[in-house]
Amino acid sequence: MSEPPPPSEAVLRLAEALVFASAEPVPARVLAQLLPEGEEAEAVLAELARRYAGRGVELASVAGGVQFRTAPDLAPRLKTVVQQPRRLPRVAMETLAIIAYHQPVTRPEIEAIRGASLSQDTLDQLLEAHLITPQGRKEAPGRPALWVTTAQFLAAFALSALADLPRREDLLSEPPPSR
């Protein structure tokens, strides 16, 4: 098999403009619709990511697409100029982790895992940040709402899919792998 030719500059410009303009992560198939015959969207995005590597703005794979983001090392200096949201409290982070790993999950199930009741505040914080959403109801007495994480959850934590989370087995014994 022969190596495919590298993407043309014209196609790279178009992909760059498309991803730059978008407020949300751009899936490869959206780019594919704009490309001429014979150009592979995946290959174009890979080349674009290569060119932006190490720059002030980088191409990240998140939530099933790609998005330009500022390089993490610049955050401390950008923070003085760019507005930032407040940190989630520890309880909210734990609840978020439980939902991420056990979804779809009901509120009583979350409470059983934490061994403590879930305050309305915590739920509100996660909802307000668009990190979780109700999705259907469990066919059980009282038909409690089922909670799942959102695409914004993946985007917020720079995950391209839920499969990017550490495996549960790994969490049970060793300290989590740092990346």
Binding site: A23, Q84, R87, A158, L159
Partner: protein, 253 residues
């Protein structure tokens, strides 16, 4: 000594924990934290010591902390039995299940820590501040189809004809007063315990009407039972409600 030290430390921080399970997990961590080899018995002792210490300081200890303490006391009594008895096995299973719950909670805490260490969008990395949108929504065209036209026509005709002739069906409500009168009338003729449903009027076809009448009749029977005119009995939850004449005979109108 070290045990007492750990206990005192936890007393001071009791409010820092979201619940007893989290505190137990923290105690388990103090035991070098290998959930496979953790000594549940030692953990139970530590927790009970903490609770005991806390009660000396503050009498108003939250209920779930005390419930956990009671459960752990029960668990300890089972774990101290000689191996092999059914009670001891019950204790083993409960201890395993507790270790399992602690392991899941520990895993979720690690997951939360892992997430917290990720570069967070809006805090550590930033997306484009002024995205451009090239999508235009064109809503100038109409969605029209014949089925829609026909159903609109039929809807208009139906509503117009209904408006000219509509008369609400009379709704029969069997009031408590009705029920009181009927109960008083029928009760005298009944020798034995009789199901409440036998006292409903016969002409109620609608299920909602029947349910309303059932409620009124129950209220009426309770009212009469208070006066001693009749007695009410139910053998089991959701079982039939039985009525009979009161011992005192009561006043029948």
């Amino acid at each position: 000594m070290s045990e007492a030290g750990a206990a005192r430390q936890l007393v001071l921080h009791l409010e820092g924990y979201e619940g007893p399970l989290e505190a137990l997990l923290e105690l388990a961590r103090a035991q070098k934290f290998d959930l496979a080899t953790i000594s549940i018995l030692a953990l139970v002792d530590q927790y009970l010591a903490v609770i005991e210490g806390a009660r000396e300081v503050r009498l108003e200890l939250a209920a779930d902390w005390l419930v956990m303490a009671a459960w752990l006391t029960w668990l300890k009594s089972r774990l101290l039995l000689p191996a092999g008895s059914p009670e001891a096995e019950e204790g083993e299973r409960a201890a395993e299940s507790l270790a399992g719950r602690l392991a899941v909670l520990a895993a979720m805490q690690r997951a939360a820590a892992w997430l917290s260490a990720r570069p967070l969008l809006g805090r550590d990395v930033f997306a484009r501040g002024a995205p451009e949108s090239f999508v235009t929504i064109d809503r100038s065209r109409l969605r029209l189809d014949v089925p829609g036209l026909l159903s609109a026509y039929l809807g208009a005709l139906r509503r117009a004809t209904a408006a000219s002739r509509y008369q609400p069906a009379p709704l029969t409500i069997w009031t408590v007063q009705n029920a009181l009168e009927r109960l008083a009338r029928l009760l005298g003729s009944l020798p034995d315990w009789t199901s409440l449903e036998h006292f409903l009027p016969e002409h109620l076809a609608e299920p909602t009407e029947r349910r309303a009448a059932l409620a009124s009749t129950l209220l009426a029977s309770l009212e009469m039972a208070r006066d001693g005119a009749l007695r009410v009995r139910q053998e089991q939850p959701f079982g039939p409600i039985l009525l009979s004449r009161g011992v005192g005979g009561g006043s029948t109108r």
